[in-house]
């Protein structure tokens, strides 16, 4: 009984002493966007305009973007962003983008990740390279430091099946 009380008390004390945990929720602002490039006429010329997805028919290419901004006053490191690819979507080969990022993929719902050239999938005969349409998740490993106030964005394109 005494031991339990002591543990509870120390846990409470620890939580009070670590303000970074409390501040975490607001330290980095993360915003997701799903958009499409739509052809619009501007001054008699066709022009691509990026707009939120509306007419999402099969075959539509959707651009998923994740924006992140360090809104704290400290430098953040070891930033990784994970984004699952919906079952109804097919990853567009070579479309993942993100400055200063190592980009890896998963073909097993995020259990394992690897770069495009070494991402394998298990088949009856052993394993083979996973095809872009078999990708289930994208992960960006931000190589730099995210200084206070700094923002960046990563993303990928996928086509509605």
């Amino acid at each position: 009984m005494k031991m339990t009380r002591l543990l509870c008390a120390s846990a409470l004390l620890l939580s009070l002493l670590s303000p970074s945990v409390q501040a975490a929720a607001g330290a980095i602002k993360v915003t997701s966007l799903a958009e499409t490039d739509v052809e619009v006429m501007k001054a008699g010329k066709k022009e691509l305009k990026r707009l939120p997805v509306t007419k999402a028919v099969p075959g539509t290419e959707v651009i998923f973007t994740t924006r992140f901004e360090n809104v704290s006053d400290k430098t953040a490191t070891g930033v990784t962003i994970n984004n699952p690819i919906a079952k109804e979507m097919e990853y567009k080969a070579g479309s993942a983008f993100g400055a200063d990022c190592e980009i890896v993929f998963s073909a097993d719902d995020g259990k394992t990740f690897a770069a495009v050239e070494s991402l394998k999938i298990k088949v009856a005969e052993g394993e083979r390279n996973a095809l872009p349409r078999e990708y289930t998740n994208v992960r960006w490993i931000y190589k730099g430091q995210l200084a206070a106030g700094k923002a960046s964005e990563v993303g990928f394109r996928a086509v509605i099946k």
Partner: protein, 359 residues
């Protein structure tokens, strides 16, 4: 992991595999994002606060969720299924053209059907098919159309269902298909080799869809209240099938190819071997089915065993897998040519040879 849990997981995995197999799209243009379904996306960000040894791992941050509803693409396809124009007699009745309607969109969709006999512009040499008088004496655009119903390939009168607009319009799930038959008559006195076209149109019954420009959005009219979007077929698929009047005829000619007498000469005398050639020539367009050539040997001749050939290939004398046989009872040879298809331009022929000895 307990044994029972393992077994449960295994059976679940098997079930999942089975379901995945059952749902595997069969059509080549398969889509899997069903109209009306919502696609959501949430990103997760992990990070540490601080640099180097002082860095402290922080709890993950979850982004807002983006989501959008999959719109319904209305995209019917119709393809004429007969490999070649269907041969008809002149006059002819109840000739069948076969079409396949497929819902290549991603939502359940109802389609209205209509036929147009000899759609404009009509090529100068074409004839105008009419709806089968037996099934549609009024010759209406929606008449003499049948829906494959009994699962047996080909049109079976009384078993495949007549199409009635607004009553049994094909209502197809994504990737589902319906076989459609158009039954027509051919007027009298049409020149041999003339073509007659019939156009089948399948139009989406979604209000405002059929004929609209590709990309037209119809808010709320898609499956599950989603936006319906007109596909590249303008929600109205068309396909033309053709008939051809057939002057198909078979002419069989028998000639003596060579004679070899016992002394090595060419005299027709007892003991001489006569080589006969039979040519079955088809002219005009069409297919002669189950064609059999029977040739009784002339009196006072005896068939030379194993002397029969078809297109230069030896045939055995017994009734077996090959086309030929010698029938001793009637002293004749019989060659089953099966189905021979001839085109109006080229025609087709089969060449048989056999030898007989003069008694």
């Amino acid at each position: 992991m307990s044994k029972s849990l393992k077994i449960k997981l295994l059976s679940r995995a098997r079930l999942a595999w089975l379901l995945a197999f059952l749902w595997m799209p069969q059509a080549s243009w398969a889509v899997s994002a069903i109209a009306g379904s919502t696609i959501s996306n949430v990103a997760t960000l992990g990070y540490s606060m601080g640099v180097g040894a002082a860095a402290q791992v922080q709890p993950n941050i979850i982004s807002n969720a983006t989501s959008f509803v999959v719109a319904e693409l209305i995209d019917p396809r119709v393809t004429w299924q007969d490999a070649l124009p269907v041969s008809v007699n002149t006059p002819g009745v109840n000739s069948v053209l076969t079409f396949l309607l497929t819902n290549a969109g991603n939502g359940q969709e109802v389609f209205g059907l209509a036929r147009s006999n000899a759609p404009a512009p009509i090529p100068a040499t074409n004839f105008v098919p009419v709806n089968s008088v037996l099934y549609d004496p009024a010759n209406t655009p929606t008449g003499a159309i049948f829906l494959e119903t009994n699962g047996v390939p080909g049109f079976q009168p009384g078993l495949d269902t007549p199409y009635t607009p607004g009553v049994n319009d094909p209502n197809l799930a994504p990737n589902a298909s319906q076989i459609i038959y158009l039954v027509s008559d051919t007027p009298a006195s049409v020149a041999n080799g003339s073509k007659g076209d019939v156009l089948l149109t399948a139009s989406s019954k979604t209000v405002g869809a059929a004929g609209a420009a590709p990309g037209t959005a119809l808010p709320g009219l898609g499956q599950g209240g989603s936006i319906a979007v007109v596909g590249k077929t303008r929600a109205q698929a068309l396909s033309t099938g053709s008939y051809i009047t057939s002057g198909l005829s078979v002419v069989v000619t028998k000639t003596i190819l060579s004679v070899l007498d016992p002394s090595g000469g060419v005299l027709v005398m007892p003991g001489a071997i006569v080589t006969y050639q039979i040519v079955a020539a088809l002219t005009g367009a069409g297919t002669a089915t189950g064609l059999v050539i029977n040739d009784p040997l002339p009196a006072n001749t005896t068939y030379v065993p194993a002397s029969m050939t078809l297109a230069g290939v030896a045939l055995t004398d017994v009734a077996d897998a090959d086309a030929g046989q010698f029938i001793a009872a009637s002293n004749s040879v019989s060659v089953a040519l099966g189905n021979l298809t001839s085109t109006a331009v080229a025609g087709v022929s089969a060449v048989i040879t056999l030898r007989a000895k003069i008694n």
